[in-house]
Structure formats: C-alpha cells, structure tokens
Amino acid sequence: MSNEIKSIQMPKWGMEMSEGEINTWHVEIGAQINAEDDLVDVETSKIINTVTAAHSGVLRAIVAQPGETHDVGALLGVLASAETSEAEIQAFIDSHKTANTEAVAPEPVAAEPVAAPVAAPAPQVSNNTALAEGGDDSHIAASPVARRLAAEYGVNLNNINGTGRHGRISKGDLEAAVTAAGGQLIGTNPAAPAGAAKHADDSQIKATPVARRMAQELGINLHECRVSGERGRVCKADVEAAAAALKNKLPAQSASANTAASSSESQAISGMRKTIAGRLQLSQTAPHYRVQIDAELDNLLATRKQINDANSETKISVNDFIIKACASALIRVPAVNVQFDGEQVSYFNDADISVAVAIKDGLITPIIAGANKKGLEGISHEMRDLSTRAKLNRLKPEEFQGGSFCISNLGMYGIKQFDAIINPPQGAILAVGTGEQRAVVKNGELAVATVISLTLSSDHRIIDGAVAAEFMAVLKGFLEQPATMLV
C-alpha cells in the first residue's frame, strides 16, 4: 500500500501544447484527493484549464509552483497514501527529476547571472521572412555562435554572406543580415544600469583587468555592471552587456523622457502572445494577396429583423449571417476551404469557421465546426457561448485549434476596411468591416444602401486569384440575397 506513489503530471491538451504555466492549486498538501477532483489550473498558450486527479490519495507534495512553466509530462505534484514516508516521496520526486531534467522548473538557483539573459531570446526578429527561406543549411560554414543564433531566430544560413575567418558566417554577419531585414537580435540585456552611480569612483569594484580596461575605454562605470565573473568580479561580458544596455537605452531616453516606457520593453511576453507572434510570423511564409468586394446588406438586415422579431429569444447578429454565408460559400467554392502545411493541401467537407475573438491580452479563434450544417440560430448560440468562454480562458483545445477558414470582424469599431493575416495552416481569412450607409449608384441613379466591405487574404500557393474572386462573388450573393442560402 505504502509504496503506491502516483504522479500528477503536466497534461497535453491538444497537439500544439508543449508546456503550461501553473496558475492556481485548488488543493493543499495533505488534502485527501478523490479521482476526478480538481487539482490545479494550468494556463497554456491559449487557455486556462483544470487538471483533475487521475487517482485518489493524499496530496503529499506540490512540485510545480504557481507562475512556473513546465513541459508536458513534467511532475507537478505527488499523490500517495498518508503512510508513505517523506523520504520515499522525495526519492520519487528526485527520480522524476533525473528521468526528465528538461521538465524541471527553472528554480531560483538556476537563474545564474549568465543564464538569465539567455532566457529572453524569444524570436523577436521582424520581417526576416526572406532570411528564413532556403533548404538545408547544415553544410554552410558558420561559427557556433552564429549557428546557434540563426537557429534561435529562424534564419537560414543559406541567405547570409560569410565574411568571418575562411569565409565563415560570423555572429556579425548574422547581425548585419538581420538588421538589414529590419529585425534585431536581442542582446544580452542586463538590468538597466543605475544612472546615479555613473560618476562614482569604481576603483573599489572587483573586476577582471580586461573588464576594467574595457569599462574605461567605453566610459562605463563598473557600478553599472552586473557581476557574473569568477570570484565575484565584473568580467568582460558584464561590461559588454552594460554597454549594450546603455546603447539600447540612450536613443529611447533622448526621444522621450518617459522612463516608464523603457521599463516595459523588457517585459516577458505571455504564452498566448508568444503563440500569436509565432503563428503570425509563420504566416509570413505564405504569399498573401487580397481581393476586396462590397456587399449591400439591406436585404440581410430585413431578413434578420424578421427572424429576430419572430422570436424574442433569438438575437441573430450580422456576424452570424456572415459566418453562415461564408460556410455556404466555402461549400460552393471548396478550393478556399483548405489547409496547407507547405507540403500538402487538405480539403474539408465541412466549413469549420474560426472566428477571431479579442480577449484580454490577446486574441483567440474559437471554431464554429460544420457551420454549413448549422442554422443561424445554432450558430448564434454557439458563437455567444464560445466568445464568452474565450474571454474567461475556458475554451477546450479542440474548440480553438484547427478550422478551415477564418473570419476577423472589426466592424464594431467602425473600421471600414482592413487586411487580415492568414492563420496558418488555413488558406484564407476574411476581414470584415463595418456595415454602413453609403451612397450607391443604382440604375444610373444615386441611392442609399447599407454596404459592408469584405477583404479576403489568400495564400497564393494554394488559392489562385480567380478562385478567391469566385468565392467573394458567391459570398456577396449570399449576403445580398440571404434566402439563396436556403437552397
């Protein structure tokens, strides 16, 4: 009995989940747990969900603390009987750590001064699309630092000119290429130097001779440097880091006296923001083009009024009509109802429509699955449910992962028309503006109509212009004559 020790592990919710952040534990150490009890809330890149107990027992240890991020499969806590000794529990935790060191949380001890800056190199290179392209670059001669940075920043070495030793690609070459592409390699950023110490005598600060010399040359006070050298000394890397920080900071200071703004620069991005950034950057590999069309909504609005008037419980929105119309159009033009992973195109029988929903600190795209088979009322109910739960971070992975087409609607902000970026691996996204009264010409005469501007961004690798145009024409038809969707 006493050796029945069970682990509570980081679950894998959906294919994309590789790690999760511990939010709140619902139970305390020593609590009797029954199977299916709520244990801990975990935030992934898109949702917060609750881990439930797979076994019953006493919660003997909480390994993963709130705020920590752990890989899928990592040990979060330990369930065992009350008789199990502390030593056995500890041995179990230790064995888990050695078995899967990757999963060990970044404990405070691990936050060495040297390691700390490395934690920040999220892929923040913008516009480096061209740099990312190309085939296998393993044969390209490059310094290890350059190769490591290239991997971190998604740069293909085929695109870099090597000017280092023996024509090798150096770190400098990589920096130059990334800068030329409008990006920036994130340097090793130490804590912002304290300006007050700038003029203080630093002869008492312990530093390596090279560091001291370099600081003098660069006009950096050793007080402004972190201390990460051996034997408690400021080392050369510390001075270089301080110099980089100073360099990054100075223009910002001269541009505005707002120091608060510079402090927000170093804020780590949330898991969701990381996912959004990663996915949309991925999207840059898709050659986008846009087709735009206007549709008159007067018929649609009349139909909507009829439906909503007929049942006080029902509140169909224009957006619900657009979802339904898109679903119908996708079935009519299936070449737009696709996913493309760079190698293979997937065609779908149903229109699974992702709808972008703005939520706190980000956005998410819950899916109306099989929208072509659903009525307006069903779509309306489902959309309201999904967007409410999205705002509470309570969506299940399958409710927002996938989708064969995406709609982004900014009409509620009065946006007339905009372009959207494709949500890969989907093939297209529809950007919906506001429905507004505009002057239109009908039969040679000026008239007033409620018009909406729709813009389709398509991935030209799989959707050709004529196909996109056909889709838009069909969509316009459904929106202007909603009754035809019934056919």
């Binding site: 310094s143 290890p144 630092v145 030793r165 008492q204 312990k206 530093a207 390596t208 001779p209 090279v210 560091a211 001291r212 010399r213 370099m214 050298g229 051996e230 034997r231 000394r233 080392c235 050369k236």
Partner: protein, 348 residues
C-alpha cells in the same frame, strides 16, 4: 611596478624592497600577529648548537633571516636533513591548530616528501568531509639560471599544480610575493609557495603594511590589444621586457601573470584572448604535461573561436637543466625566444 589589477587596497607608506625581504616581511608580520604561525626547515635559523652562530643563515637564501632572534627556537625550528620529516611534521602541526611554514630549500627535493604532500596534506580536508583543515605553507625555490645543476634547478610546479587539494603560488615580483605570502599563511589549505631563486634580489615598491592578495586573480603588468602573453614566475620578467620592446614597434601586448597557478585565473586569460586573438605562453618548465600546455589547452578548448592564430608556447626543452653555463642559457626561455614566438603568432 605596474599591477593593473585587483591588488589589495594599500594606503600607507611604501619602500623599495627585494623579493627576499618582501617574503621575510610577510612572514614576520604574520608571526607577530598570530602566535600559531611557526617556521621549520633546514637552516631556517642556522647555527643550532653552535655558540654565537644563531641565525647564521636564515635559510640558505636568507629569507627567514632575523626570525629566530625575534620569535625564538620554539617557533623557528631548524630541522634535520629530512624533507619527509619537515613536511610530515608540518602537516601534523597544521592539523592540530598551528600554521606552519615549512621550507623545502630546493623544491627539487619534493620527491622525498611527496607522499606527505600529495597523499596526506592535500587530501585531509576532502577525506574528512571538511572537518579537518591543513593550513600549511610549503616554501621552495624553483628555476634555473643559478648554475646549480640539474638537481637544484628544476621547475616542478606542474607536478603540484596537477594535484587537487593543493594551492600553488608563484610570485613574479616583491609586491606580489608579500601579498601572496600573507594570503598563503592565512589560507586554511596547504599552499605550495614557489620562489624563483634568480629573483631574490629583484626590487620593487612594496607597502610597509600587511596586505593579502587573493588567490586566482591574475595581474596584467602590461596591457595591450595585439597579443596575449601569459607568463609565470621569473618568465614574467622576460615577457615584460619583450612587451616593452614590441611596444616600440607599435605592437601592444597583454602580459598576464596568473600569480597563482592553482587556482588559475582562466577567465582573465580567456577575456584577454577574446580581445587579442593571439596567445603566447611562457613557462620555464619542461613542455610535456606542463603548465604551458595546460593554459594552451584551456584556451584551445574555451577560447578557440577567439583565436586568430595558433597558440605558441615557449618552454624549456624536454631535458633536465644542464649544468654548463652556455647550455643552461640556451636551455632557458629568454626575451629573444618570447619575441620570436610573438612575431610568429602575429605572422610577422
């Protein structure tokens, strides 16, 4: 003396002192400060048992001169000619609360006391889980150029550097010698303190007050951007001379004196090589498994991508030290050999 590094903060008076007197100063002041500090070795006082001959020698090099009259024979002990006994007694005394400074006269004699050093003193703290400490200093003279023959001229520092548990100190000037000796005496581990016999009369400005130089922190007696020259003990003298000649040609050198070879200030060397991209290591020892190849190995392993030219080492050849003056001169590294090596790594 230029020591552009983290030297102890000294505010008081300084005077010009020899390497020999600087060490003597350090020992005397520590003996005044701490009654547990004792000195033992062959002829460290001299004249034992002979009327009027007390303190006749103060060690064959005169380093411990004047200590016996001040501190008495209880604390300045002339021993029989048995290195095993000297080191064994010192290790035992260190384990029992004293801070002995044992003198091996010529470090070439380490062989007959090697078990006491490497298999006893070096391992006590480790084997007893930190419950025992062995605060002893083993002084010895090293190096050639003294026409002393093969058995009194060796550079055996690499042998002790190899042994975990020992700290190995090799001062290259009087200032460092005093500060490092103070640190060696105060250190709780066995420290091998190697004095180069041709440097005893070298002088420089030395503070009168006591100061300790921490172990593992290199000095940069010359600073430059083109080549890094790491040199040890008396070789620092040659490296500085070479750097000064090169400076006139517009070639600037970082001359690095590690001061202690265990612990070794790898960081200072690697950082300098990051700047210069070129490394020459000057060591008077034999080349195989020596300190020069050790430093070259560290840089090859951790600083390879900073290097713009192959590393060069300047060492003695792999033979014992010759007795014939012409051969001994040819044997030892000198300024010309350092200059040639620097020019080679510069491709000049």
């Amino acid at each position: 003396m230029t020591n552009n590094s983290n030297n102890a903060q000294v505010t008081g008076k300084t005077s010009i002192k020899t390497y020999r007197d600087a060490i003597n100063d350090a020992i005397r002041e520590e003996m005044r400060r701490d009654p547990t500090v004792i000195v033992l070795g062959e002829e460290v006082s001299g004249g034992a048992g002979c009327d009027g001959e007390d303190d006749a020698y103060g060690g064959v090099f005169g380093v411990t001169k004047g200590l016996m009259p001040e501190f008495g024979r209880e604390r300045v002990i002339d021993t029989p000619i048995s290195e095993a006994a000297i080191i064994g007694a010192a290790a035992g005394a260190a384990n029992n609360g004293l801070r002995p400074i044992a003198e091996l006269m010529f470090f070439d004699f380490i062989g007959v006391s090697f078990d006491q050093i490497f298999n006893q003193a070096a391992k006590f703290r480790y084997m007893f889980g930190g419950k025992s400490k062995t605060p002893m200093v083993i002084r010895g003279t090293v190096g050639g150029g003294w026409r002393a023959g093969a058995q009194h001229s060796s550079m055996l520092h690499s042998i002790v550097t190899h042994i975990a548990g020992l700290k190995v100190v090799m001062p290259s000037n009087a200032y460092d010698a005093k500060g490092l000796m103070v640190q060696a005496i105060r250190d709780d581990d066995p420290v091998i303190f190697l004095e180069h016999k041709v440097m005893y009369d070298n002088e420089c400005e030395v503070p009168d007050e006591q100061y300790a130089i921490p172990f593992g922190e290199a000095a940069f007696p010359r600073q430059g951007k083109d080549v890094t020259i790491v040199a040890i003990s008396n070789m620092v003298t040659h490296a500085i001379a070479a750097a000064d000649i090169l400076a006139q040609e517009g070639i600037s050198c970082d001359v690095i004196d590690p001061r202690t070879v265990s612990p070794m200030d790898d960081e200072a060397i690697l950082e300098s090589v990051e700047v210069t991209g070129r490394l020459v290591v000057v060591d008077e020892g034999n080349p195989r498994c020596g300190l020069a190849s050790d430093i070259a190995g560290i840089v090859a392993e951790k600083g390879f991508h900073s290097l713009r030219a192959p590393i060069r080492t300047v060492t003695a050849p792999h033979t014992p030290v010759p007795f014939a003056p012409e051969l001994e001169d040819a044997y030892l590294p000198n300024v010309d050999k350092v200059l040639a090596a620097v020019r080679e790594v510069l491709g000049a």
